[in-house]
């Protein structure tokens, strides 16, 4: 390595300074809403809370967890995440397993159907009409059924299954095992990196989804965390009294402090799985690059 030149020093200092700013600008908003959620809402409304909670309290969380509407919303979000992810992973893998058979007849036709479906859509309005006529609107099913087949994961899964040695399932097949058994007992257990990648990305998507929760359901008991957050943000964005206290409970909370608390609760699971997301992101990209 040669000596550091003046140019090196200048480039390095500017670069480190800029990257530090980028890191701060990205991370601080998360930190800020975290400290606000632990700060008394009425106190925060006076402004000036920048670095740590000034008036530490758990009131916001107590309020959140006492409110049955918020609890219900969090449960619906959790349920759609778990059920939706399991359904998507299993169904997508099943179809992919079928398509991964190299000598499959009509496979050109099947693949054409997949590619066309991937690249063209009929738009949101026509999609809504379909959901309505098959009776999915205003049911829990609308959260988990239309997303069961993920075409992007489908292609990744096909190329992953092709890499699995064909003779792995052969002895089971000779013993008379059906293809479903082979898929569940033999193929899926050796496909853990694939399953984890699909589950994590799909799970994050389900947890974050909001459009279907806002427009495809009306029943109060089907409202999700995302929906309730949209509601409370809309309530406070225009009104001048976002900092005004909520008087219903004997707690020092405001609409705004409840909102940031809900946001923290919504972000927490994502941060929790973030290390795994990262790990499988790399794996997922490598899986994606394996050409079928």
């Amino acid at each position: 390595m040669r000596r550091r030149t003046t140019e090196d020093r200048v480039v390095d200092s500017i670069n480190y300074a800029l990257l530090s700013v980028i890191g701060f600008v990205t991370l601080y908003p998360f930190y800020y809403i975290l400290i606000l959620s632990f700060n008394s809402g009425t106190d925060a409304a006076q402004g000036g809370v920048y670095l740590w909670p000034r008036s530490f309290t758990l009131d916001n969380y107590i309020y959140f967890f006492r409110d049955s509407a918020w609890i219900q919303a969090a449960l619906v979000s959790a349920a759609r995440t778990i059920v939706g992810t399991v359904l998507t992973v299993l169904f997508t893998c099943m179809v992919a397993y079928g398509l991964s058979r190299p000598d499959l007849m009509f496979r050109r036709v099947y693949f054409l159907l997949v590619i066309v479906a991937m690249n063209f859509s009929g738009g949101l309005i026509a999609y809504y009409v379909v959901l309505r006529s098959i009776g999915l609107l205003n049911t829990f099913g609308v959260f988990v059924i239309p997303s069961m087949l993920n075409l992007f994961f489908l292609l990744i899964a096909i190329s992953f299954f092709r890499e699995i040695p064909a003779d792995l399932g052969e002895s089971a097949r000779i013993d008379g095992a059906g293809e479903m058994t082979i898929l569940l007992r033999i193929v899926l257990p050796v496909s853990m990196p694939l399953l984890a990648t699909m589950a994590l990305f799909n799970g994050a998507g389900q947890w974050n989804a909001w459009l279907d929760a806002a427009y495809f359901v009306q029943s109060e008991h089907l409202r999700t965390l995302s929906y309730r957050m949209i509601q409370i943000i809309n309530q406070t964005v225009i009104s001048a009294d976002a900092g005004a206290a909520v008087y219903t409970a004997n707690l020092k909370v405001t609409n705004f402090s409840v909102q940031v608390t809900a946001m923290v609760i919504s972000i927490a699971p994502i941060i929790g799985v973030y290390p795994f997301l990262q790990k499988y992101l790399v794996k997922g990209m490598m899986l994606g690059s394996v050409k079928g």
Partner: protein
């Protein structure tokens, strides 16, 4: 005969695939036929079959859209957001990737990179809440800070004044997605042969010259592929997407003059007002332009570099 025998042998595989095909017929292909709605006197009560059985309306709804008094505003907003996002959001991930690549301290580089794509996994709803926490006129941190420092007398109406909307949309989209797209460019930089850098250094190239003559040519392929993707999705917001989400979540009655776009208008006409045929016509106009853009940008890219997506 052999044909049938072979098919029977792989029956289970076909069954799996056909379940998937059935799924696509319902959720992907039926909506494609739904495009017909745009040319029909469609009533939502007639269900899916009504798409085929209802009377033809010709181009009535397309004409209605073009003559809609909102039409110029919608087109202006859609184009402005799309172009602004393409111009500003496309170079940022490339710059970020180059900067990260130039950072020698491994822990520092890793830390900043890890942080930079965290927002990608956070929903637009939460990001909207974050923007509210920072920019709202009464409780927003930025306004509080600026007033406290005496830089402004009145809080800036960033979330409600139409004039702030485009800037807010572009900046927040870049904040959310730049780190994510930088991953692709970093991977591409990692694929550059290190001996090229050594050779450049031997020839007396400084840091910036090495970036200019080794790194940039080295990621040209990735840049073109990503550029095709973002031009193809330009009406959705390009690389960073999110035109619809932002118009929906950050748009409100006060800033609608700058925040309402074709997509949200179609959505409102259809789902909120029940004018499905009209909404489908608007949807179709947008889809046709998008598909045309994808094909054109791909053709151009293939000519320029010999590397196309399709």
């Amino acid at each position: 005969m052999r044909f049938r025998k072979r098919f029977r042998k792989q029956m289970a595989f076909h069954l799996f695939v056909l379940l998937g095909v059935a799924f696509m017929l319902v959720f992907n292909y039926t909506p494609m036929f739904g495009i017909l709605m745009a040319f029909k006197e469609y009533k939502i009560t007639s269900g899916v079959s009504g798409i085929f059985t209802s009377e033809w309306a010709g181009l009535r709804y397309f004409r209605e859209f073009v003559n809609d008094y909102n039409f110029p505003t919608l087109i202006r907003n859609t184009l402005a957001l799309s172009v602004l996002k393409l111009v500003f959001s496309f170079p940022v991930p490339i710059l970020l990737a180059i900067m990260l690549n130039e950072a020698r301290l491994v822990w520092f580089k890793r830390f900043v990179q890890t942080v930079s794509y965290l927002p990608h996994f956070i929903s637009w709803v939460v990001v909207t809440g974050v923007l509210f926490a920072f920019f709202s006129a009464n409780t927003g941190l930025v306004n509080q800070l600026l007033v406290d420092l005496g830089l402004i007398d009145e809080p800036l109406p960033i979330l409600t004044d139409p004039d702030y909307f485009w800037g807010l949309a572009v900046v927040s989209a870049v904040w959310k997605e730049a780190g994510w797209w930088a991953i692709i460019f970093l991977a591409s930089i990692a694929g550059i042969d290190p001996s090229l850098y050594e050779a450049a250094e031997m020839d007396g190239a400084g840091r910036l010259q090495r970036i200019r003559h080794v790194t940039l040519p080295g990621i040209k392929g990735a840049v073109i592929v990503v550029l095709i993707l973002s031009i193809g999705n330009i009406l959705g917001g390009g690389l960073v997407g999110s035109n619809f989400e932002q118009s929906f979540l950050l748009g409100n009655a006060l800033n609608s003059d700058k925040s309402q776009i074709v997509q949200t208008y179609a959505f409102n006409m259809g789902l909120a007002q029940g004018r499905f045929a009209f909404a489908a016509a608007i949807d179709l106009v947008q889809s046709v332009i998008s598909v045309a853009l994808i094909l054109i940008s791909n053709a151009v890219a293939r000519k320029v570099s010999g590397a196309g997506l399709y």
